[in-house]
Amino acid sequence: MRRAALIEHARALELLVRTTWLFRVGGAAAVARATHEAMIAAPSSEAELAASDVDPWMLQRALARTKRVWPVPVRCLQTALIYRELLRRHDLDGQLQVGVKTEESALEGHAWLLIGPFTIDDERISRSFLPMTFEASESALDAARTP
């Protein structure tokens, strides 16, 4: 494994510890604050990403490797928040997306990250979810009522 990948692997491990503490001890309000902050973040542009020396896919692979050795399941929201922190350590930022869909009348949620032109989603299912927005609900309602 290259040195840069090893460094990201170590960072991901540290962030897994920190966010696991946040999710298990910090409580819903602390998670919600982190979620809100990540949802209103301005994601780095494609040009900013190109100008940096960071390969977003290398970060994703490092995080995926780290998750595989982590003893407890890491869900999509935690993964996306960790990935954003990995980016921020390179002066880049990603915007968290939280989406919903209904499956057999049950509501399902998913979280992923946007940066530049890329969607960072380990599970590769974000396209089937509708991202939630801060905008007024009128346009969303109009969409709902359109057959």
Binding site: A29, A32, A136, A140, A143
Partner: protein, 89 residues
Amino acid sequence: MQTQLLRKPPTVVTRAVAGELVLLDLTKGTYFTLNEVGAIAWRHFEAGLDVDAIADAVCAEYEVGRDVALADLERLLAELREAGLLEVA
């Protein structure tokens, strides 16, 4: 009768899904869903309409008695405010 202008708190995000409106309160991390009628009421509450005006709109679109609509809307408004999904502007 509601006369205060209400608004969606900035930490509430919404999305229409399969005819329902899903609300996520980021301060608590909790989801809520409103059916189509509830979603229409939500939009009108958000726009500052009072319960009487919303009841008229609902009765014009759906077959429901005005008294029933008014009672349901009052209850919905109270629940939305109690849940922190609407706040005084």
